[in-house]
C-alpha cells in the first residue's frame, strides 16, 4: 500500500493582475476576463507534498480539484511538478457551493481515495480568502489538522512534525497520521515544472476534454492509464444533492461593494528644518525609523 498524499487544489482567477474589466456591473468577479491560475498557496501545498514524497519510499501524490472542466489544467500543472495522478470533482450541481458545501463534497471525494496518510491544502484561495475549506474538510473526515504550516520538519509512516507560522512567532507540532495540513504562503515556493514530467504528462486529459480534441492519442491511453484524469460527479462521490450548491450553502451574499480606501487623518508638514525635525521625532517615536 503506497503512502498516499492528497493535495486539494483550486483553479482561481488571477486577482493579482486585475484589469479594468475584472468586475461585472453587478459587482461579481468577471471570471472570463481574468486568466485562470493555480491558487498560489495550493502550489505551496504541492511543494510540501513533494517534500514528503522525497522522504518516503513508495509515496504517491493525488491532486483533487473541484471546479469546472477547465480546472483539469491545474491537475496537469501539478503533474508537471511531480504529482502522480489527479481527480477532477466536477458537476453542474456543485455550482454556487459555499465553504460548507465545498468541504462536504471534497471530504466525500477524499473518502473515496481512502486510505490516505496526509491531506494537504493551501491555507486559502485568492478569490474567496476564507481559509475555511481545509479545516472544514478535516473536521468532516474526523482527522487532526495542522493549519498555517510553513516547513516540514520530519515525517515517517506513523507521524509528521511541522513548523507552523503564527502571527507572533512559530510553533512546532507533531501529529499522528492521517492528518490534514493547510499551508501558508511563507512556506517554500513550489519547484519548477520538470522537462521530462511535462513531456510525460502533457497528453493527460479528462474524458470531457478528450471529446473536444481532434488528435487524442487514444491508443496511448490504453497502456498509459495515468494520462486519464478521472472526473467524479455527484453520483460518483455519493453526495446528497440538497447538501450541495445553493441549497447546501447557508452563506448568503447580501451585497458586494467596491471599497475605496480613504485617508482618515493626516498631518501636514512644511519643508523647513523645524517641521522636518518634528516629523523625524514622530517617526522615531512610532518606530517607523530609528
Amino acid at each position: 500500500m503506497p503512502f498516499r498524499i492528497i493535495v486539494l487544489a483550486k483553479q482561481v482567477p488571477d486577482t493579482r493582475n486585475v484589469g479594468k474589466d475584472a468586475m461585472k456591473a453587478d459587482g461579481t468577479v468577471n471570471r472570463a476576463a481574468l486568466p485562470a491560475i493555480f491558487n498560489p498557496e495550493d502550489l505551496h501545498a504541492l511543494e510540501l507534498a513533494l517534500r514528503i514524497k522525497d522522504q518516503i519510499n513508495d509515496a504517491e501524490i493525488v491532486v483533487v480539484s473541484m471546479g469546472p472542466g477547465r480546472a483539469a489544467e491545474i491537475i496537469r500543472e501539478a503533474m508537471y511538478r511531480g504529482a502522480d495522478r489527479g481527480v477532477l470533482v466536477t458537476d453542474r450541481k456543485f455550482a454556487g457551493s459555499d465553504t460548507l458545501a465545498t468541504s462536504y463534497a471534497l471530504s466525500l471525494a477524499v473518502k473515496k481515495l481512502a486510505p490516505f496518510n496526509v491531506l494537504i491544502a493551501g491555507r486559502q484561495a485568492i478569490d474567496g480568502d476564507t481559509a475555511q475549506v481545509g479545516p472544514q474538510t478535516a473536521e468532516k473526515l474526523h482527522i487532526p489538522q495542522i493549519t498555517y504550516a510553513e516547513e516540514l520538519v520530519d515525517v515517517n509512516s506513523k507521524q509528521i512534525t511541522i513548523k507552523r507560522r503564527l502571527e507572533r512567532g512559530i510553533e512546532v507540532v507533531r501529529s499522528p497520521l492521517p492528518v490534514a495540513i493547510t499551508v501558508h504562503s511563507s512556506a517554500p515556493v513550489c519547484r519548477p515544472r520538470n522537462a521530462i514530467l511535462v513531456m510525460k504528462f502533457k497528453h493527460a486529459r479528462t474524458t470531457t476534454e478528450l471529446q473536444e480534441e481532434t488528435k487524442d492519442y487514444t491508443e496511448l491511453r490504453l497502456y498509459r492509464p495515468y494520462l486519464n484524469i478521472e472526473e467524479w460527479s455527484v453520483e460518483d462521490i455519493q453526495a446528497e444533492t440538497e447538501k450541495l450548491g445553493l441549497s447546501g450553502s447557508p452563506t448568503k451574499v447580501k451585497k458586494i461593494e467596491n471599497v475605496v480606501l480613504q485617508r482618515k487623518e493626516s498631518k501636514a508638514f512644511t519643508a523647513d528644518d523645524k517641521d522636518i525635525d518634528l516629523l523625524m521625532q514622530e517617526l522615531m517615536a512610532s518606530h517607523v525609523i530609528g
Binding site: R191, A195, K200
Partner: protein
Amino acid sequence: MANYYTDNKNLRFHLEHPLMEKIVRLKEQNYIDKEKYDYAPLDYEDTIDSYDKVLEIVGEISGDIIGPNAESVDHDGPKIVNNEVVYAPGTQKNLEAIVNAGLFGMSLPREFGGLNFAMVPYVMAAEIVSRSDAGFANIWGLQDCAETIHEFASEEIKREFLPRFAKGATAAMDLTEPDAGSDLQAVQLKATWDEAAKVWRLNGVKRFITNGDAHVSLVLARSEEGTSDARGLSLFVYDRASQAMTVRRIENKLGIKGSPTCELVFNNAPAHLIGDRKMGLIKYVMSLMNSARLGVGAQSVGIAEAAYREAVKYAHEREQFGKAIVNYPAVYEMLTLMKVRTDAIRSLLYETARFVDVYKAYNIIAETRKLDADERNEAKSYQKLADVFTPLLKLFSSEYCNQIAYDSLQIHGGTGFMKDFPIERIYRDARITTIYEGTSQLQVVAAIRGVTSGLLLKVLRDYAGRNVHPEQEPLRRVLISMTDRYEQAVSFIEEFKDGEYTDFHARRLVELAGNIVMGYLLLDDCQRDDSFERTANIFITKVNAENLQHENYIKTFNPKELGEFKAVFEA
C-alpha cells in the same frame, strides 16, 4: 511573472522552420524511443510541442529566477573556499531551479537520461538563458562537454559520466594555458601513463578556465613526450571527485562576473583518455570549439535581445525637451538598427544550428547502420555548411551584440553609465563575446576559407534561387548585385597572389559575404512572416551601403602601402 520564451514570438518562428521536419525525423529515427520512454515524442507535431513546452519552462525560469538574480550574482561573484569554488548565492539558486526543471543534458540521448533535443531548441534555450544572465549561461552551457564525451569517448566512459550530466553535474573544458591561448598547439600540461594504477596522470597548470572547478572536466594535455605541436596532444576527462586538482585563483573580470574563471593546478590527477591518442586538438577540441562557438552565438543573440529591450524601455520613459527621446531620429535610428541586427544574427544563429543538426543526426545514425551514398553526401555538405557558417555566426553575433550594448548604453545617457540600470552589466558582459572561444580575428581566419574556396559564393547563388514574393523582388535584386560585387572584390584581391595582402583584407571580404548571407536569411524569413519585410528592407539597405564602403576601400587601396601600416607605429 516574466517569460523570456513566450514574450518573444521570433523564437517560436524559428522553431517552426520548414527544415525542422527533416531534423526531427533524423533525430528521432522514426520515433522509435516512444516504445521505451514515456516522455519520448510520438510524431513530428508532438516533438515540436515538447520543444515548445520545455522552452516555456526555460523562459519562465530565466524571467522569474535567473534574470532577477543577475544583479546580485554580478555583485557577489564566486569565491574560493579551501581551494574550491563556491558560487554566488544567486548562482546556486539558479542552478537548483535549472537542475530541478531537468534542463541539464538537454541534447543527450534518452538512454543517458537526456531529453534528446535537437540543436535548434537547445541553442534557443541558451539564447533565452543568456538574455537573463550571460555569465550564468556559461555554467549551464558547458553541458556541451557531455556532447563531446558522447561523440568520441568509449562506451565505458560514456556509461560512467553521461548519466551524471542529466542529474546536474557541471562541466568545464580545460584548454588554455598561460602560454597557449589562441595557439593551442603550444599546450604543455603533461599527461603520463601510470602503468601500476592503469590511469593517465595529469600535471601542470591551466588558466582562464570557465567554471574550472566543475564536476567533470575535459582536459587537453601533452601525452606524447618530446613533441611540441598539435600531434602530441590528447583529450582527457577528469573527475572532481578524485580531488587531485586545486583552484589557485579566480580571475577578477570586467564582465560575466558570476561565471568563475579559474587558474588550475593539476597534481598527479588521474584521468581517462577520450577517443584516440594524438587526436585531442586535431579532432575532438575542434569539434568542441565548434559547439562552443555556436554557444557564444546564442549567448550574443541573448545579450543583444536584452540590451535592445532595455533601450526601448528607457527611450519611451525618458523625456527631454518635452517629449520621450524615442521620438528623435538620432535615437530611433539606433533602436531600429539594434532591432534589425538582432533579428539578423538570430536568423544566422538558427540557420547555423540547423546545419549542425542535420549532420550530427546523420553521425548518430551512422553509429547503428551504414549510411547510403545520398545520406553520406548530404551529411557531408551540411557539415561543410556548418563549418563555414559557425565562424561567420561567431564573428557577426558577437560584434553586433557589442555594438547593440554600446548603443543601448548610449541611449541611457549618463544614467546608463551608473550602476542603477541593468545596461551597464549587459555592456560589460557583452565584451567577452568577441574574444573567447576564438577572437573575431580568428573567426576571420576560419571563415576566409569559405571565401577563397568559393563555397560562400555558391551558398549565396543558391540563396538567390529561392522563391520570394513578387513584392520582395527588388530586395533580391539588391542582394544579387551585392553578390556580383563581392565576387569581383574577391577576384580583385586574389589576382595579387599575396598572402599578407589577402590577410589584410580578409575581414572585409568575410564581412561582405556575411552581410549578404544575413540579407538572404531575412528575405527568407519574409516568406513565412510578413512582419520581417520591414526588417529585411532596412537591413539590406544598410549593409549594401556598408559593403559599398568596403569595396571602395579595397579598390582604392594600394598594396604597396601595406608596409606603411607597420611603419606608423614602429617609427
